[in-house]
Amino acid sequence: MRGKAVIIVITGLLGMAVAGISSQAVELEYPAYFPSPVYNFSNNPLTEAGINLGRALFYDPLLSKDGTVSCASCHSSYNAFAHTDHDLSHGINDQIGTRNAPALFNLAWQSSFMWDGAVNHLDMQALAPISHPAEMDEELSKVIEKLRSKLLYRKLSYQAFGDSLMTGEHLLKAFAQFQLTLVSANAKYDEVKKGEARFTVQEQSGYELFIQHCNSCHTEPLFSSYGFADNGLPIDTTLNDFGRWMITKQAADRMQFKIPSLRNLSYSYPYMHDGRFRKLSQVLDHYNGGIEDRETLAEALVKPMMLNNNDQADLIAFLLTLNDQEFVFHKDHQYPRNIFSESEGF
């Protein structure tokens, strides 16, 4: 009897060591003035273990065909998960893609992904860069095979989903869990919203200009409606990217690109779907006088903004209050040294 009890206790302890406290549910935190997330958490409840697994996957170049490129290669935490200084995304063998790697944050509030909305759910997003020949160029089944051969992932997978054999579903859900935790809501703007800080006179003036000229598409507090719009960029004939039309082939979708958030602009340059602008002033120049008038142009842009130099300076001052330093330097979002440094066996 006693022997049995000891075994039970030991088994229990082992179980706890494997499962840890990390299978406990985690609640996504966000400010009261944010809308409700669109992500359906009941299909994929956040857990510490699920987030851990997703974070390890995000930083692991094992996902790519030749083991050289991870998600973080083009989505760096220090750049609000964009690829600063690179106009177009990179892949294995020094390949260059056709679009600017977007910043990743507040993904729980988005229901379509990619500049053209080709992906309809955060869970499914990872499939695209994994398989794209100019990105990771790897088959999902091969990724799963590689992960199953690693003790580390058998352990992480067991902790997260009670199954040491990784599946496509679990890989995608873990990816989503980590990305869902990338909430950016601690910029100066947010402090002002919470009554913890005040805009300067210039920032306040910029905020008013923003509401007047930008908010219809870059809607606060997320600073995007996450819809699609044609913002009048002249076509780059070296890329011939017609945006959402490439997916839907519907005339109305020509030149429609997903509206990006204006949070964290200082960390996530260059701007636009093809990264053509390196500076915010160039972006404002475009909206002030560079818009190409055409049938699909967003209605809000038909009338020119006519911002003078002072207005532009004020607007930029306001946009800089959307930089969220706490988010960009958050330890929980960075390379998971502790996970990867664990011994392979136990």
């Binding site: 359906n40 299909n43 994929n44 080709a118 992906v119 309809n120 759910h121 955060l122 869970d123 499914m124 499939l127 695209a128 994994i130 398989s131 794209h132 999902l140 089944s141 799963i144 599946t167 496509g168 579903e169 679990h170 995608l172 859900k173 989503a176 997916i247």
Partner: protein, 231 residues
């Protein structure tokens, strides 16, 4: 809900009868043929309409929500909601219902493909795991039917044709409904005649379908009409 309670009432009225019925099972078995012969993947068949030989190397599709609707409107659902049928995997060719057809005849119905709600509901496991290769990675959505093969009549590279038939959004919804009368029997054989299918699909004309389109819808419709019950 009303319908469900109505069905439940009928179920209770016919209690003893249904209890007997529950002891059995109905199996729907898919049988692929080409012009009357059992289809073997990678084997060469002559297609009179192509005027050339044709080999099929991949034949996979989703069947979802299979139901047997009895004469008395009682509905029996299959043991699984989603099936990935693969001509290369003998174990994938059967759909099981937990009871026999108690009435003299019933209607067998299922969807050929994955419905739009499931398409936008995030990652799924089992038959629906994207690892199974019937999911588009660059543009979200399930491939409802995948048919690949070669024919000298096909002008594409290596004479290879690839039909990846999917699309869940208007105007290119490729999901198809299949329904047919079935008798009271425990094994229902469904023949899918690829010979007849390729009499209607000219691989000299259409050889690459890899995204939602009207062509994909048409080819999916034709495929849905290829299911015939064998007496």
């Amino acid at each position: 809900m009303k319908l469900r309670s109505f069905l439940l009432a009928i179920y209770c009225l016919l209690g003893s009868f249904s209890l007997d019925a529950q002891s059995g099972a109905t199996v729907v078995q898919f049988e692929f043929t080409f012009a009357g012969e059992p289809l073997l993947l990678d084997k060469s068949y002559y297609s009179p309409s192509l005027g050339d030989s044709i080999q099929l190397e991949t034949l996979r599709f989703y069947v979802s929500d299979p139901q047997l609707v009895m004469d008395n409107q009682q509905v029996v659902v299959a043991t699984e909601q989603y099936y990935l049928v693969d001509a290369a995997v003998p174990g994938s060719l059967a759909i099981r219902f937990p009871q026999t057809v108690p009435s003299s005849r019933a209607t067998l119905q299922f969807k050929l493909g994955i419905d739009s709600l499931t398409n936008v509901d995030g990652a799924k496991g089992g038959a629906l795991d994207p690892i199974n290769g019937l999911y588009w990675s660059w543009q979200s959505g399930y491939i409802n039917v995948k048919i690949e093969g070669t024919s000298l009549a096909c002008p594409a590279r290596n004479n290879h044709f690839q039909f990846h038939l999917g699309g869940y959004q208007a105007p290119n919804k490729s999901l198809q409904q299949v329904a047919m009368e079935v008798p009271a029997t425990s094994v229902i054989l469904l023949e899918i005649d690829l010979g007849a299918y390729f009499n209607q699909v000219d691989v000299g004309e259409v050889h690459q379908i890899m995204s939602p389109s009207q062509k994909a819808v048409t080819l999916a419709q034709l495929f849905a009409t290829s299911f015939k019950r064998l007496p």
